[in-house]
Subunit: 202 residues, 2 copies
């Protein structure tokens, strides 16, 4: 069995307990289950793996959020209570309570912040650093506060006292900034596996 | 007398009590005082107005912040106690206490957020809206929370109970989101005028 999480930048592959990230998809001999937020990359996957199964058609998830991304649904499925942060191209933040999704928000990812500052002025170069507590007194710190620090502020506000679960490429870096937090690299794949088990029960 | 604030996107002109924003600079008959954060635009100003005076060389300002932009210095000069937010291409936030600058941070401006989301995915279209209190349950609200809402969260945190002064192109829009706030369209020019008075006293 191979699980594929198609993001906006990469294919994230889960096979034999290992996660890899690839730009171009290949054919798999094993049965393929996938989710996708990118139509073009999904087409390429289906050309190489015509029998791949889209788990979007089988997942059960309680939310009032219209158009919640399937990757966010999967990341949330294994968390009953807590905040789920997936830090990739975008940083998505979702709040779970009693296995219900209460809502969430979307911030730019760290690389997108970097590019955003770069388009404003060439002197605004974001180099991600651990955030200091004191008010910034240099451009380096000011850019970190105004981007990563602003997102951190809002995550802390919505988290109240809940535990925060991080996943995604920048998840580990962000996780270290929070006290009651845990980094889980296969969070999305855990949700996909739960969905497959639910399918098989029927 | 004409005051020119050269930003990264526009020339902001103060003349006879009126503010205008232009892309290309012209020659003025009056005496020109200016500040600049953009070298190319400054060169063009000096070609058309060779006797223009750069107020950066005359301003007095107490801060430990290294490399604080001259536009931020001028916006802060007329505020003794409070938070100063200049919302243009970037959103700069500075904290003043007893006429001392304590530090500040830099976030992307609203247009830069818009472009940043656009580069992640074409479905992430930020349309700035007044922020609702409830957790977002749609992509529109989620993008507003995760960008403008995150910056708002950090402004509120650093402001504690201080009054917040807004200026810049998106200043009015942001100002309406805060309780103890005021929008002052000529805040940077007020600082420039104080500096000219200080120069003349010598």
């Amino acid at each position: 069995m191979v699980l594929v999480d198609i993001g906006n930048t990469n294919y994230h592959i889960y096979k034999d307990g290992n996660i890899t990230h690839i730009k171009n998809i290949c054919s798999f001999e094993e049965k393929v289950y996938y989710i996708s937020v990118n139509n073009e990359k999904e087409k390429d996957l289906l050309i190489k793996n015509p029998h791949a199964i889209n788990l979007k058609n089988y997942v059960k998830f309680k939310t009032r959020y219209e158009g919640l991304g399937i990757d966010r649904i999967m990341a949330c499925k294994s968390i009953k209570d807590g905040v789920v942060v997936d830090a990739g191209s975008a940083i998505t933040v979702d709040i779970m309570e009693n296995a219900r999704h209460l809502g969430g928000f979307i911030s730019p990812g760290i690389y997108a912040f970097k590019k955003a500052f770069g388009t404003i002025s060439e002197v605004l170069k974001l180099e991600p650093l651990p955030l200091k507590n004191n008010l910034p007194n240099s451009t380096d710190e000011a850019l970190n506060w105004g981007s990563i620090g602003a997102v951190k502020c809002l995550i802390e506000k919505v988290a109240e006292n809940k535990k925060i679960y991080f996943t995604g490429g920048d998840g580990k870096f962000l996780c270290n900034m929070f006290e009651k937090s845990e980094y889980i690299d296969d969070l999305v794949f855990r949700g996909m596996m739960i969905t497959i088990k639910e399918m098989e029960k029927k």
